[in-house]
Symmetry: none
Subunit: 223 residues, 4 copies
DNA sequence: GATGAATGAGGATTCATTCAT
DNA sequence: TATGAATGAATCCTCATTCAT
């Protein structure tokens, strides 16, 4: 019978070690994640080999496995950190959007921020499109996906008509996320003016999609 | 190149015989493509192994390679057949849309047909999302992608305002395809009423996106 | 494909099974051997695939195996035919050499004939160098090799000093054959004037090698 | 990357310790090359499978590929090491030949040394005859071949008549190498007295071939 | 006899992961 | 902790050969 009581102490005797270790470990981990990000970007998750990641990080494969139990864990941790940063970015930058901003403006602001973030972290894109199906990767992917959904739902909840049932909100959030990803793919696939055009197109599409769902007492986005 | 037709160098006086052999091969090819479709569906293109496909088809790996030079060729042939069927389906079913149908109706009809087709051929979805990066697959995959783009552009050209510049049409087509894929993913991920709801959501989104782009002399989709 | 038989009518009644069959069979065999020769030349024996040979011959693999039990048998038959032709060529063309020709002349004549033959049948070279080791191929290869040895021993027996022990003759024949092959490789590897130079070099080398072994009562090859 | 050799207290007094990691690898490489040599000898380069080599070395296929990117690389490294050893052997053993040694003596010494080397390293023979056609192997193979040519040209340059044009020297070197290979094949194919006889025959042949090309101011090898 | 489909063991190579040091 | 060697199953693909028609 496995002990599930959780009483297994966390290394009672030694208080000091963890810190030191973690310090160095943190560096290694960051190093590895950075490498992983690079490799995921250029090869995609599936095609990325752990050996390649280790090599990119300048360490041996053994070292990599000292910090991550398997390839998936790397992607998960990467996603988590990205998520964390995204959350931070938003808590400080998204707040101002909330009030009674017109949809168009809110969407534009959100799209701008998201795309900015995606441009700063190209891996995000790779991770979003990773799970060709590998099944288990689901959790990871879902973490990222779910987190973004939550973000979006938050945004929507302040935009959509008050009476909107949660299911509809969720549905809309899914749609918005899907559209955003699709649009992002196009945005990233182009450059210069064409890229700009796609950004605008994406904003327009989302705005038009959301506009009718917004509380009617407000201001329609388009006059 | 699985084109095995007409390779009979002789072509003497007989008409029937030469086919027999090819019939078996033709059947095998169909069988293999079916198997490939199944495997692609459950594992995705990248993760699908040729041996797995052969096994699924109940033949030896060698047999598979008698008909297809490599994995990619399977996907290509599969795409081609799908494309072909899609074209057929459209030539007989899409025509009526053209005239002066209101956007809403046109979109609804198109989405219904596409989703029906996708439901009948789940591989389509797998193939559309195949190329995690593999690069070369690009052409093939693009064949499918490009074909759909063409379909969409055709539809759009009869819907969009006459003066719309080609670049804008192309952009819109890309957006529509991206949105469609995104929506389809959600549609296929749900069932029953929820699925229906997503279908509707997708139609709404596309309609709203396209409506303002449509010639104003017509009737706006929403009254 | 030059049809060299030409005499066989095409669609007669079928009275004489055995003849007919062999007639057609012979043609097929010749066809296959020709194809094999081509493929062996371009790919070498080991790398040549039976399927490639069949394809080159314009027949199906099955047909190939109707005439030859395996790949080796093809090489063997090819060697045999080459041998046969070589024998014929020599019986009519080598005879005049025999008498009391000075070594230099004899060698020159022999080299010229052999190289001519090799140029007319490039496979010979491929077959001579075939058996990377495959062991069993030994017999075949040896057939060709042994036959050439016999030829050479015949030539030598009329050149070498009468008292030369058989073992020495055999040894010399082996050496001569080895040198000839080595020289041929160089000859075939070059063109134009350089090729000529190598031919001359080969002649010189063989002449010098054999000269001291020749009966002293005769005339030294170099004056 | 900072010092990764792990100079921590472990390896103070010993000389071997610090190498340990690399030593193991070095040993594996040697082991693998040895195994490869054995397999190449018995099967020839083309027929030798990497799995067979790994098996012969008592390791898994993966291990082989940790040290060599592909089969060719094994042959190349093997050739290189052989070459290296050959060079060493020569720098200490071939030097004395140079002065004004008569051809006969020089050839005898060279043949003795080469054959001794070949007997000690039977692979050399296998590698020399490797490239049935594989094309790419050319470079590698050529490395060995070219190196031997260079050796021979060096020897020849001090033997041949001073005025001999470079092209002729090169041609002669090619011939000598070809003859040597051919002779070696016969030498290695026999044993005991017969082998000795072939060695002598080879020496004689080369001597006679080269003698007339040697500077006339010297002494002809045979008086 | 001819065809072309079928076989399946085998080949080179990769890669996530573990192990000894 | 870091290293790099080791693993071995799995991948794509080939080919001599056989079989059903």
């Amino acid at each position: 019978m496995p002990d599930t009581t959780g009483t297994t102490g966390k290394a009672q005797g030694k208080e000091e070690q963890p810190r030191r270790r973690q310090a160095r470990g943190e560096r290694r981990i960051a190093q590895l994640l950075e490498a992983a990000a690079a490799v995921f970007c250029t090869s995609g998750y599936t095609a990325a080999s752990t050996n390649a990641i280790a090599r990119e990080a300048g360490v041996s494969p053994g070292t990599l496995y000292q910090f991550f139990p398997n390839k998936e864990a790397i992607a998960i941790e990467l996603s988590d950190r990205l998520l964390h940063e995204m959350r931070e970015t938003y808590s400080e930058a998204l707040a101002p959007i909330a009030p009674g901003t017109p949809v168009e403006e809110a969407v534009a602001a959100a799209v701008d921020r998201f795309t900015a973030f995606n441009r700063r972290h190209p891996v995000l894109f790779a991770l979003m499109h990773s799970p060709e199906i590998p099944g288990r990767m689901a959790q990871d992917h879902d973490a990222l996906h779910a987190a973004m959904l939550v973000r979006i739902e938050e945004l929507l909840s302040s935009l959509l008509a008050p009476g909107t049932p949660p299911a509809a909100v969720a549905r809309t959030a899914h749609m918005v996320l899907g559209f955003y990803k699709a649009g992002l793919e196009l945005v990233l696939a182009h450059e210069g003016a064409e890229q700009e055009a796609y950004v605008q197109e994406l904003k327009d599409a989302l705005t038009r999609y959301l506009d009718p769902l917004v509380t009617s007492c407000g201001q329609p986005a388009h006059s």
